[in-house]
Amino acid sequence: MPLRKILIVDDSQLLHKMYDLIFVKLKMSGTGVVHANNGQEAFTQLHQHSDIDIILLDINMPVMSGLEFLQLLRKNAAFDKVKVIIISTEGKEHDINKGLEMGAQAYITKPFQPSEIIALVLKLTSTAPPSPSPGGIPSR
């Protein structure tokens, strides 16, 4: 699976800035990074950029929560191939389980190290077969 563009959905400016810094190397090798502050903006971005391969989705957002967004996303077959990583906070196993059921491919809990999220993104979108990794991708 290619990694042409990453969509970040999060209501915190700090997080957006962080992801920009984290993905600097990826950006230099041609991967695009687009941002959305809420679910609605996320859909706008998805329609504008047809090459989004993976979404980093913050669970905890006002107005439309991450899970609500995910539900709407999976209703639309056009986005079936887009991978989703749920970004959650510690102690919210319920959210994580629900998210995985609703069609997310992986999860990560805050706070996390930059290297962890990079590894997760690459694993999900690489052509290499998935290998067991510490709490990121559930083996089906």
Partner: protein
Amino acid sequence: MENEEIFSELLNFFLGESQERLETIESLALSTAEASPERKKEIKDEIKRELHTLKGNAGMMGFSELREEIHGAETFVLGTELDEQGLKEILARIESIRRGLKKHSPDKGEEDSDASAGQLYQLSSVRISFDELERILERMSDILVLRNRMLETLGACRESIGDKIEVFETPALNLNKALTVLTKDILRLRLIPLDLIQLPLKKIVFEESAKRKKKARLEMQGLGESLDKSVFDVINEVLGHIVRNSIAHGIEDPAARAAKGKDETGTIIVSVRTLLEEIVITVTDDGKGIDEAQIIEKAKSLGVEVNSFQNALDIIFSQGYSTAEEVDISAGRGFGLSAVQLAVSRIGGRVSVQSEKDRSTTFMIRLPLNLTIITAMLFKVGELTVAFPVSSVVHVERTREKALHSVNNSYVYLWNGQSVHLLDLRELLSGKGDHGAGGFVVIIKSEEKQKALLLDDVRNIEDIAVRKNDLALDNSPYFSACTILSDGRVGLIVDPSLIIEKTASVDPQSTAP
């Protein structure tokens, strides 16, 4: 990017953004005092949202202790009524979170040394220190002097070089333009928006009123200004103290005020006005005023030399009197009104007080501006260019001969239904004027007074930088400074208040019954 690099880049962003967020929360909290119950609920929700985001960010940065503290604040806001007690608690928690943030700040060493008693606003670190900026300005001054010499030499060579002078003129003028722009840019770097003072002052009003069991509200005027750092620093230091003083000694308690027929809530107005050469700050409260007799009594009992004061009210600024009285205000810090006077006079300013018994007390601080950038409208008077601050220009028009009248030994100009005293600037400046024949009339104003000035032509509007100490014009009664304009010419800057004041004696309007 490595993990640590990302972290430290994010840290500055996090700290700056969090500081802003904390200030937003404080502003919101303080605004509940005069809010309706519906608005209070809205404010509560807004504060909760801000705290929630702040918490998430702190967590993301790995600051778990801070995150816990913010979580505690969030929980508290959920359950509070947003009454005075609740408000106090919120502000206290915000302050505590702020201290928690400071612990993670990379330059916390510098911050501590900045925190002196009385500082209202903690300036965040700047990339270039103001000392360095000052040195750059001095270098700039030197360059400007060299530029002036060059222009003078150029002028002197005109005769001997003849037409060939053109070869030098264009590069010289371009250089001049570039230097002028650069000077203005540097001067602008020193400007700090006065608005920054508002929130800290509001907090002081809140704290002191609660402490003294009085009710007071703060109104600020003239906050649109930005001040040079040297002036801002002084204001930063002294305003808080004067406001505390107003609440402690000026504003009466609610019962006493009601008995006098006043609103139970006292009003303190802080007003800032920038005049051409100075800035005037007044703090007026509608309290009980200063009882001169009482001051003198107390001064005598404290052993203060009462007779050396021309104005009895000035006693409150004296060393012996103020430190004794102010100990209780500043909880032992001993930062009295005498320190206010010291701070102000250190930069060549003056502080004074006036009062009306039972009605009001007004503190006035005058600070000289030794550098300003003014937006000026330029006019031609013969060979000279004259500049007026745009705020003083009321009207400009071609001279209407029919509006010119001679009254006694003076002239007036009929404009807008008024007879305005007319001065021929051409005569004033070069001795050659005839009060008529062509040109333009400019109506200028200062305070409520107006004057009509006759001159030759209108030029343009420009921002000019004025540094008083190298541009003094001692023998001119009307002009406050001169400057080099963008075309390399010398411009004379008019101080409207001076010109109006100094020609008042020959103003037919003022002598009319």
